[in-house]
């Protein structure tokens, strides 16, 4: 029945679920920000690692990123989507049960992340660290959300889908695709798995995912929220609906291609790098289309910045969005990436987006929502103002300190003197130089948290002073748009399913063109003749390396840049990492690159270095790892690990797989004997430190004589 334009219906929106997500957003934001501040302090002052394995930087950093992205931003997205979709579609959510399952399922996932990550269970793929059982849970909960959303879409009373809804559709579809493709892994134990992709393939798929987590978890859903809440807060329609159509399709089509800009100058094939760079530069246009559309919505009503202070958050968020999306393409230019990659410049860039764009937009949305959800007035506009200015100061301190630190360190790494040698041959020199800026960053983060605490107090008081009797109120709506004859995009706007399929096709083009050839690379590259796989003990050590999050601060990918080759050795090749599951190229160098570390130092050096880095490198900011000398290596599980690797085409002999633990113990004895003869304690052969040393000594040493 589609001609009932005059029928008035009573709708009760489900605001209870929105309240739940808003409160969860605030709770998890506190956790994410606190983890971030501790991590920032650990970099400025290494004793903050406290010799505790569970909060050491390598494990805390993934906890911080996951909490910030999935717990804070995730809950904020859901709060906004559940609130705005019901109103834009003139209907209650399809199923209260599914809404609740979505909410509690998501919180359980976050909780499981908060438990497993500090315990060292990680896949080491940035923003996809969670292990396979949690990956499955994420898929299930996301499908519940998708069913709930698309069924709501189906029973809508407003035939035309407003632009915010398109962004939600693109988000739901693409996040599902990204998560599933990047999480194809073979379980080894209950909380460990190996990805089916290896080396360069793993790197490309991971960064196709990682970059598009930024695109479709931190950009498109927030643009959708922006398109709803900015016009609502300003009480004016969006600046240009035409622009929203153009920038939506351009954004979802172009964004998906840009992943390889995280892998510039690596051993990723040139064509993929170039594609990533070109599309990243093109991405500037649709991104700024969104920013312009948001900011110019306020055209003619800028006075609201004075009278409605929450608008400040939206304006600042859009400004940060504009700056981040200018800086992203800038950093994607190869020659600029040469300076910025692996440095804190990237960290600054990320946080101008995360704190400035996602954070401020969320804060603005929460300030808008809470008084309306609880049917009251905001407790204090003055507090809101203070939150804004203190928070803004925090973000600016964070951003400027990290950009300065990043460019400083990047240039120091690249510096080659007139005599053709490195100006700063000791890596530690480049670290010591920027430590003061780490303190500034921590101060910025602290100020951001001070503002956030003000907000929590403001929201708490607002809810506390709200009327106790909160009756469900209905709203009267009539169906609209069902009696028009439409064509073209307008018709498309009325066809949820077709629109969704087209959005999927828009993201599928770039994905297939980049991923398919890379996954067929093994037809051209045969590592068999070039490198040997890791020995059982080295593999055990590699998994310890992953568990401790060493990849968070150390890369294993030497770029073909003169200064880099001088510092670390020959540039990395495709073949070298073709047995690496997961790949360990890294994306940040707080410490030096390790790809050719093997045989550079004696075993005892590594032993001393892991227990007290300052014993061998004065002024090092690396944490101590005393537990590695106490904890025992699990030798028995190696049989399972190797058999999974063999299943994935790593050329292990059957005998090695069947007796993996025996081979490993034999190699461990040799290393332990060497350590002992050089003055280390007795009885280290079954300890994790020995397995880790075996792995570190194998780096860059697995090549076969040509």
């Amino acid at each position: 029945m589609n001609t009932s334009g005059n029928l008035i219906e009573k709708i009760y929106y489900d605001d209870d679920i929105v309240k739940k997500f808003v409160l969860a957003t605030l709770i998890w934001a506190g956790a994410a920000f606190l983890f971030g501040l501790i991590a920032a302090l650990q970099l400025a002052y290494w004793p903050m690692n406290a010799n505790l394995e569970w909060i050491t930087f390598g494990r805390l950093r993934p906890l911080h990123t996951n909490a910030a992205i999935f717990a804070f931003a995730g809950n904020a997205i859901f709060a906004g989507i559940y609130h705005s979709s019901q109103r834009l579609l003139k209907t209650r959510m399809f199923s209260d049960v599914l809404s609740k399952m979505h909410f509690w399922g998501w919180q359980l996932i976050i909780l499981s992340a908060a438990i497993t990550l500090p315990l060292g269970y990680t896949q080491s793929k940035e923003y996809a660290e969670l292990e396979w059982p949690i990956d499955i849970a994420i898929t299930v909960v996301w499908v519940i959300f998708a069913i709930n959303f698309f069924m709501t879409l189906r029973q809508r009373r407003e035939k035309h889908m407003y632009v915010a809804i398109w962004f939600y559709i693109a988000t739901i579809i693409t996040v599902a695709v990204l998560h599933i493709v990047n999480s194809i892994e073979i379980p080894v134990t209950f909380l460990q798995s190996y990805p089916v992709y290896a080396g360069i393939q793993d790197a490309l798929v991971q960064w196709w995912y990682g970059h598009n987590a930024v695109a479709f978890f931190l950009t498109t859903p927030f643009l959708g929220l922006m398109y709803y809440y900015v016009p609502k807060a300003a009480n004016r329609p969006v600046y240009s609906y035409r622009l929203s159509i153009i920038h939506f399709w351009a954004l979802v089509f172009i964004y998906i291609w840009a992943g390889p800009h995280h892998l510039l100058y690596t051993s990723l094939p040139e064509w993929a790098q170039t594609l990533g760079m070109i599309f990243s530069i093109m991405l500037w246009a649709p991104s700024w289309g969104g920013m312009i559309n948001g900011l110019l919505t306020l055209k003619g009503s800028w006075h609201l910045l004075r009278t409605e202070p929450l608008i400040k958050f939206f304006v600042a968020a859009l400004t940060f969005y504009g700056m981040s999306t200018f800086e992203g393409p800038l950093l994607s230019i190869k020659s600029i990436s040469a300076v910025g990659h692996y440095t804190d410049w990237i960290v600054g860039h990320v946080h101008s987006g995360a704190l400035g764009w996602n954070g401020f937009l969320t804060f603005g949305m929460v300030y808008y929502l809470v008084p309306r959800l609880w049917r009251t007035e905001l407790y204090s506009k003055k507090l809101l103002e203070n939150h804004f200015w203190i928070g803004l100061t925090g973000v600016l301190l964070y951003y400027t300190s990290m950009v300065v630190a990043g460019i400083t360190q990047g240039l120091m790494w690249l510096a080659v003197g007139e005599d053709g040698t490195l100006v700063y041959p000791d890596f530690i020199e480049t670290v010591v130089r920027i430590v003061p800026l780490y303190w500034v960053r921590a101060l910025g983060g602290f100020l951001f948290i001070v503002g956030f605490v003000m907000m929590c107090y403001n929201i708490y008081k607002t809810i506390k002073l709200a009327p106790k009797e909160q009756h469900d109120s209905y709203i009267e709506v009539s169906r609209s748009g069902y009696d028009e004859l439409t064509k073209g995009h307008r018709k498309l706007e009325g066809m949820g399913a077709v629109f969704s399929v087209l959005a999927f096709l828009a993201i599928a083009v770039g994905s297939v063109i980049e991923i398919y050839p890379t996954l067929s690379l093994h037809r051209y590259v045969n590592p068999n003749n070039i490198v040997d796989p890791y020995s059982p003990l080295e593999l055990a050590g590699r998994d310890i390396y992953i568990k401790e999050g060493c990849y968070v601060c150390h890369s294993q990918q030497i770029r073909p840049i003169a200064s880099e080759v001088m510092r670390y050795g020959a540039a990395s090749t495709v073949e070298e990492s073709m047995y690496d599951r997961p790949f360990q190229w890294g994306s940040k160098r707080t410490g030096p690159d390790l790809s050719r570390l093997g045989k550079k130092y004696p075993n005892l050096w590594h032993y001393s270095h892991m227990l007290d880095p300052r014993a061998v490198t004065p002024k090092s900011i690396m944490p101590n790892y005393p537990w590695l000398a106490d904890k025992k290596t699990d030798f028995l599980v190696l049989r399972k690990k190797l058999s999974v690797m063999k299943q994935l085409d790593v050329p292990y002999a059957d005998d090695v797989v069947a007796n993996a633990d025996i081979y490993a113990q034999k190699q461990a004895k040799e290393i332990a004997a060497d350590l002992e003869s050089n003055g280390a304690p007795k009885g280290l052969e079954d300890k994790e430190i020995v397995a880790l040393i075996a792995y570190l000594q194998s780096l860059g040493q697995k090549g076969k004589a040509q």
């Binding site: 834009l88 407003e158 016009p231 609502k232 153009i246 094939p269 690379l521 590259v525 495709v574």
Partner: protein, 54 residues
């Protein structure tokens, strides 16, 4: 060895065709979005969030 892997995408005709298709599609969208008589419907669309009675 790596150059073997690079054999993909050395077909300039293919890439030029891709560029042309994407660009023309984009121009098509522009033309469609800015064609005459569409202002009315956009005026309706942009009002949707403001007419939800809240």
């Amino acid at each position: 060895m790596k150059s073997e892997g690079l054999k993909f995408f050395t077909d300039t005709h293919l890439t030029a065709m891709g560029l042309l298709i994407f660009f023309l599609f984009f121009v098509g969208v522009l033309i469609w979005v800015y064609r005459k008589h569409s202002s009315e419907i956009y005026a309706h669309m942009e009002q949707i969030p403001l007419k939800d009675g809240e």
